[in-house]
């Protein structure tokens, strides 16, 4: 029998539906991979093999009974540990929420279970989704399954959805959920040679996802290819009356309308993204990507996004500002960690609990956020950043008068080694430079594998689309995927 863990979402769904194999066989295969890799990759905070089997058995029984099967029937997935899962510890990779078991299920995970998916476990991430390398997790960093050719230095899987990216790349799961605030789906996808899409802000409900920066947070799928992402996004998206920022729009049939023929489409290449001293491999892959899209029938045009250089600073004001407020609820009063030193009063308890419960990067962002919102600084930082955000959104609006999608690199470099940037937060933040503008504008954006660099590490290309136009993004992604022929896989060294 073939190794079922080599299959992606579509192949598993179709195979289970047609009876080529059972959902249980699939779940067992992935459960085994999860267990085997845990020591080396640390992709999961908690494995839930029994949940995967339970869901699989239900699908097999439904199929046997002739009941209709869901969009994700028989597909076991990894769940980023930022999504609340009823009865299963939900930590946001923090000490603060260690041992916290919610009595509620996030809307997105509930929709996935409803669609027939099963849960392999809760995936590791940067603490409260703050980080670009997965090194801020309280539960230890995730290790990227990829290594430089001929080297054995441990590489970062990207972040914050690093557990998700590593698990999919290492075949521990055919797909996983991610969340993207300023690149947290796209950058780890690029670092591990997989595909991930952040849909339009509001497509996926934020209800039940531990909040980082509310105006930016958006869930999305991470999988092996564009088709799998389209299938899974259909299962995740949809209006949710419990989230005021949720889009009240029907969910399009993205999978059905996938089409790699780009005749009549225009692809914009933003001038400002071509920065001085750009990584040569990245620049080369970008050019190659443009050529592929031309080959697919598109016209390639140069566009300008003049406020790009202000995006990262604006993001690092807005996101921490919202985070500083969103994380105020972790105070030791009602749930999660409580540190109560001898003779402590309320203030002492707050201080001790938050000192102990939050990691260094989370504290750094709470401090930045508190600072930029404080009296006397608000206008200079927060108001200014919001104005920049408006200008960035307008840049895109004007650009989309000239093109249908935008092509750019996902990240400035391929994966870096663990520990390489931990002492330099600014260089870490710079990793998100290409990802952040689309987040600020709330636009759909995806990363697709585009080949390997000279060190044998994967590179990703990013496609940014108009508001609500996930289809355009997916289609352009599919055109690249078909031409990139990306079949490289990390050696199974674990």
């Amino acid at each position: 029998m073939t190794d079922l863990t080599q299959l992606g979402v579509k192949a598993i769904r179709d195979g289970v539906a047609s009876g080529d194999f059972t959902a249980r066989e699939v779940a067992e295969g992935f459960n085994a991979n999860v267990a085997a890799a845990q020591g080396a990759l640390n992709a999961f905070i908690v494995a839930t093999p029994e949940r995967a089997l339970e869901a699989a058995d239900k699908v097999d029984a439904d199929r046997a009974a002739g009941k209709p099967l869901g969009k994700m029937a028989g597909v076991p997935i990894g769940m980023k540990d930022l999504f609340a899962t009823r009865g299963v510890q939900t930590t946001a990779a923090s000490h603060m929420l260690e041992g916290f078991t919610p009595e509620y299920e996030s809307t997105v995970s509930a929709k996935l279970w409803e669609a027939g998916a099963g849960m392999l476990g809760k995936l590791n991430l940067d603490q409260f989704a703050m980080g670009s390398s997965n090194e801020t997790s309280h539960f230890g960093n995730v290790v990227n399954p990829w290594r430089r050719s001929g080297g054995n230095a441990q590489m970062a899987p990207g972040g914050s959805s690093g557990g998700s990216s590593a698990a999919v790349a290492a075949r521990l799961a055919p797909a996983a959920t991610g969340t993207d605030t300023g690149g947290s789906i796209r950058q780890p996808a690029a670092f591990t040679g997989i595909t991930g899409i952040k849909p339009t802000y509001g497509r996926c409900s934020r209800w039940g996802i531990v909040a980082f920066a509310s105006s930016l947070d958006q869930a999305g799928p991470m999988a092996r290819d564009v088709t799998d992402c389209a299938i899974m996004l259909e299962a995740m998206a949809g209006f949710d009356p419990k989230d005021s920022t949720s889009l009240d729009l029907p969910v399009p049939e993205w999978e059905k309308h996938l089409d790699a023929d780009l005749k009549g489409k225009r692809v914009g290449i933003p001038r400002e993204y071509r920065m001085d001293g750009m990584d040569a491999d990245v620049a080369e892959s970008w050019d190659r990507g443009a050529q592929w899209l031309k080959d697919a029938g598109a016209e390639v045009v140069e566009i300008s996004l003049p406020h790009t250089k202000y995006a990262l600073p604006a993001y690092y004001i807005i996101a921490p500002a919202e985070a500083s407020s969103n994380l105020a609820r972790y105070d030791g009063v009602r749930y999660g960690l409580r540190e109560l030193p001898e003779k402590a009063n309320l203030q002492d308890m707050y201080a001790a609990t938050r000192a102990e419960g939050f990691g260094a990067e989370v504290k750094r962002r709470i401090l930045i956020g508190t600072y930029v919102l404080s009296a006397g600084f608000y206008d200079a930082y927060y108001t200014q950043a919001q104005k920049v955000r408006t200008l960035i959104a307008r840049d895109f609006e004007l650009a989309f008068a000239q093109c249908d999608v935008i092509l750019a690199p996902t990240a400035p470099t391929a994966a870096f080694a663990l520990g390489e940037k931990t002492d330099d937060p600014l260089s870490m933040y710079l990793n998100d430079v290409f990802a952040v503008p689309a987040s600020l504008a709330g636009l759909p954006a995806m990363s697709v594998p585009a080949g390997l660099n000279r060190d044998g590490l994967p590179l990703g290309l990013q496609i940014i689309g108009r508001t609500f136009d996930e289809q355009g993004v997916l289609n352009a992604g599919l055109a690249i995927e078909q031409r990139a022929g990306f079949t490289a896989r990390p050696d199974t060294w674990w």
Binding site: A328, L373, Y378, R389
Partner: protein, 538 residues
């Protein structure tokens, strides 16, 4: 709620973008800057050692919105439940929970704004007010600082000579915004720990901010009472200060007449009209004493002690929190559609001022009676039912029986209820029964004085007027034969008085009326008695 938000036409991205360029022009309170004092000045002065002082007062009233569910969650708002039994995941600020505005709370605040003739802002927004406290699960209160739902409005307080309000006065209202209430700490449950009850956490409040237009404790009291009356008419707040559903922050400053505004203090959470007036009186006196002793007033937050009627410092401006207000990114701006506003407007009842005018002009009531009957919505409602019943029972137009009904309600029923220790809302005499009683008087079946006696029996027994009149034989005697017989008896018993009367001592007429009525045990029809006496004596 989606109908309130143009989710489709103005998707989140665009909405967020709009917030990005909104100028930040508001300060929390327009005063103490330059303030326009509307209307006339009261004559209220503090007599200091060196001069006379004026008091300048502004009130921030927190009124709990009448709604079944909280401002951003579906948990119940009923008063008096067991601790922590009305707490949703949102109210407890569990990870990943999100607020969704309750349409009814917004509706009530808009209706309130309309009732004070205020500008309704079709575009408003929620902001977070950040601070840590154990009764605040989110670590922030969702409020509206920069773009409140309701803008400039006003209400009128009526002249009250006795209270030192020489004429009607318009008090400006700067804004009304909606916000979440906090939970409640309980310090008496454990020797070293405090407990927290989150039932109130997330309940909708309206913060109604007045202009510093009041210049005496009496004006402040009148403002609060009028505001409470309007809230109750509208039905947007029960105005129950004892249960904490209405409380006031009292801003007070003093100045010599004609001078610039002085530095103000804010006395927090005062929960009765009487206490607000006492707090102002004490605080104004204290400020005058401080200034006259060569000191200066510090801008600070103070607490009122109902036991002593004094205020004391809670925290100074230096210790004030930096609330780090910013737009709540979990919520889209609130956009109100014309249809929604139309419904709000159409659902408004007749308000106290309009009602009072109508009672005077259309019903011909005295200004005093009209004012008494419209001061509380319950009274007005009772009166209007009584009016209907009375008119129906006598087959007359309401305007023809309005005076009768008003006088009876104000002098007879209020007096009798008061004597029995009852209120209108638990009165055993219903408007229907009242109308029946008044019909008996109107038809001449019983006299006005007997009706008082009947009313007392009605309150004691709950019986109908007619039944009581029958049972106790209180029916008025109008039969001329019977009355004449009694008159003859009285005249026969008092020949000297008859002679005196006929000799020109007109004053004796009252004596004969009294004697005749006495002989008839009060049941003689006074009109018939009068007429017959005049004939017989004349």
């Amino acid at each position: 709620m989606r109908t309130l938000v143009h989710g489709y036409a103005a998707p989140p991205v665009a909405a967020q973008a709009i917030t990005g360029v909104t100028p930040r022009g508001f300060t929390r309170l327009a005063w103490p800057g330059i303030a326009l004092i509307a209307g006339c000045m009261s004559t209220y002065r503090i007599h200091g050692a060196t001069s006379e002082w004026e008091v300048v007062i502004g009130l921030e009233v927190h009124a709990q919105v009448t709604s079944n569910a909280k401002l951003f969650s579906s948990a119940s708002t009923a008063f008096g439940a067991e601790p922590n039994t009305q707490v949703s995941l949102i109210d407890a600020a569990m990870p990943g929970m999100l607020p969704v505005p309750n349409r009814e709370c917004i509706r009530q605040a808009v209706r309130t704004g309309m009732a004070i003739d205020a500008q309704i802002n079709r575009w408003s927004r929620f902001d977070r007010k950040n601070y840590f406290y154990a009764d605040l699960p989110q670590g922030y209160q969702i409020s509206q600082l920069y773009h409140p739902l309701v803008g400039e409005g006003s209400l009128m307080i009526e002249a009250d000579e006795k209270a030192g309000i020489p004429e009607d006065k318009v008090i400006g209202i700067e804004r009304i915004h909606v916000e979440q209430d906090a939970g409640k700490l309980m310090h008496d449950q454990h020797p070293t720990m405090s407990y927290v009850d989150l039932n109130r956490s997330g309940v909708a409040l309206m913060e109604i901010v007045s202009r510093p237009d009041m210049t005496s404790p009496a004006e402040a009291g009148a403002y609060l009472r009028k505001l409470r009356a309007i809230l109750r008419y509208v039905g947007s707040c029960d105005g129950n200060m004892e249960e904490g559903s209405m409380r006031a922050d009292v801003n007070v400053s003093v100045r010599r007449p004609g001078e610039e505004l002085g530095t103000r203090t804010e006395t927090k959470n005062v929960n009765s009209v009487r206490f607000v007036m006492a707090a102002i009186e004490h605080e104004a006196r204290r400020q005058v004493d401080v200034i006259e002793d060569g000191g200066s007033i510090v801008q600070e937050t103070r607490l009122f002690d109902p036991g002593t009627g004094t205020t004391r410092s809670m925290r100074s401006k230096e210790d004030a929190h930096d609330y780090r207000y910013f737009p709540d990114p979990d919520l889209l701006p609130l956009e109100l559609e014309e249809e929604f506003l139309d419904e709000c407007r159409a659902s408004l009842p007749e308000l106290p001022d309009a009602k009072r005018r109508r009672y005077e002009q259309d019903l011909g009531l005295s200004p005093y009676n009209a004012a008494v009957l419209t001061a509380e919505v319950e009274t007005a409602r009772w009166f209007e039912r009584l009016l209907g019943e009375t008119a129906k029972a006598q087959d007359k137009q309401p305007a023809d029986v309005a005076k009768q009904a008003a006088n009876w309600l104000i002098s007879d029923l209020f007096g009798a209820l008061n004597k029995a220790g009852l209120e209108l809302d638990n009165s055993p005499v219903t408007p229907e029964k009242g109308g029946e009683l008044l019909a008996l008087v109107g038809a001449g079946t019983i006299s006005g004085s007997i009706s008082k006696q009947v009313l007392e029996t009605m309150i004691e027994t709950g019986d109908n007027a007619a039944a009581i009149v029958d049972r106790e034989g209180l029916k008025q005697e109008s039969d001329t034969g019977a009355i004449e017989a009694k008159i003859d008896e009285v005249m026969a018993a008092n020949p000297d008085k008859v002679a005196e009367y006929r000799g020109g001592k007109d004053k004796l007429f009252g004596f004969f009326v009294g004697q005749t009525m006495k002989a008839m045990q009060g049941k003689g029809n006074p009109q018939v008695v009068n007429e017959l006496l005049k004939q017989k004596l004349g």
